[in-house]
Amino acid sequence: MADSGPAVNNGPMGEIRLAEVTEKVIDAPTMERLVEDDRAGAIVSFSGNVRDHDHGRSVATLDYEGHPSAEAVLAEVAKEIEGRFDVIALAVSHRVGPIPIGEAALVAAVATAHRGEAFAACQALVDLVKEKLPVWKHQVFSDGTDEWVNCA
């Protein structure tokens, strides 16, 4: 799956409608539309955006690197969340490569019947992506220094 583009399903329930790692811009409204469903009473979406500051330092440029297995791991993560919660539909996308300030690195959208489940499932999805996805973030600061985030 890592090399064959987005994994899109159109099954009847608990659908994972997208689980992709992409070098393209992620459009949050498109992700939300993907999970729309007449049965859904609640859609919660998360957009993790690249910030101009990190720990008080000004960020000039930012790059994400993904392991070749990243998209397969993302599909597993999506499946785990779909199994843990009453999900009607789910879509998740992680961007890699250089990302301009203000643009999204990660977008997740979850549709459920009731709102509590949508918040819980979307937050658990984002947490699990952060924990499991083999992706790395490289920041170059305005003073020219750089760092690999989470690497002491």
Partner: protein, 75 residues
Amino acid sequence: MHLFAAARAAVGEPMVTVEAGTLGSVLDSVASRYSDFARVRPQCSYLLDEVSCTDPSTPVGDGSRVDVLPPFAGG
């Protein structure tokens, strides 16, 4: 051995070839050749032929692939 992100930056190469042995011995061998790798090494996790591997005594055969993964920072 395939190196990613901070591990690749420490070694300066995305891939290095190391003699077969154990996970521990191949990592020792890289650390002895690239001094900066020692700093990153304790934080990394490893894939041996695409499967997670934590025990340094695990045998690494000829032709095996070891992936060195620094701490993830997605999202």
